[in-house]
Symmetry: C2
Subunit: 99 residues, 2 copies
Amino acid sequence: MILEHADIRIDPAQASAFEAAISHGAASVIAQAKGFHGYKIKRSIESPGRYLLLIYWDTLQDHTVGFRQSPAFAQWRAIVGPFFVQAPLVEHLELVSQS
Amino acid sequence: MILEHADIRIDPAQASAFEAAISHGAASVIAQAKGFHGYKIKRSIESPGRYLLLIYWDTLQDHTVGFRQSPAFAQWRAIVGPFFVQAPLVEHLELVSQS
């Protein structure tokens, strides 16, 4: 299992509309993808307009190939893309340890 | 519940020693703090030497006041601080939505 970590910046004035849109997009589009294992959307307390989208995938390729090269990716971007003030910074992480 | 998100950079040559140290420090020091509700340590796949330390706290103040102003903070920094190649970037986030 790997974690997709997308660091997103939007106009803080659009926060309510963005939160509704990304929550809808994650639940209706991303959640249908092969290898999807859950998401969280988090709002920064210190930096208005900064959000993290955290998605668990079975494998790196489930995200980078399976999802990104599917028609669902365009649907997702149509929902959330208009809010981005810069390209999201996306990395993938693997677990070292946890409590 | 809020999430502390610490973005950490170390020398990739020190990865094994750092992973052992931070796992030990989180489990032995941070896990004893008031308001602590669990941690995860994650290694970036794309950026060697980049780690995220994710800690759930009851309240923002449990981290920023209760933990940081306690003697435990110095113990924690003594364990992990020597590995940092720059100051960790720390923000706190709250949940918008999840699956």
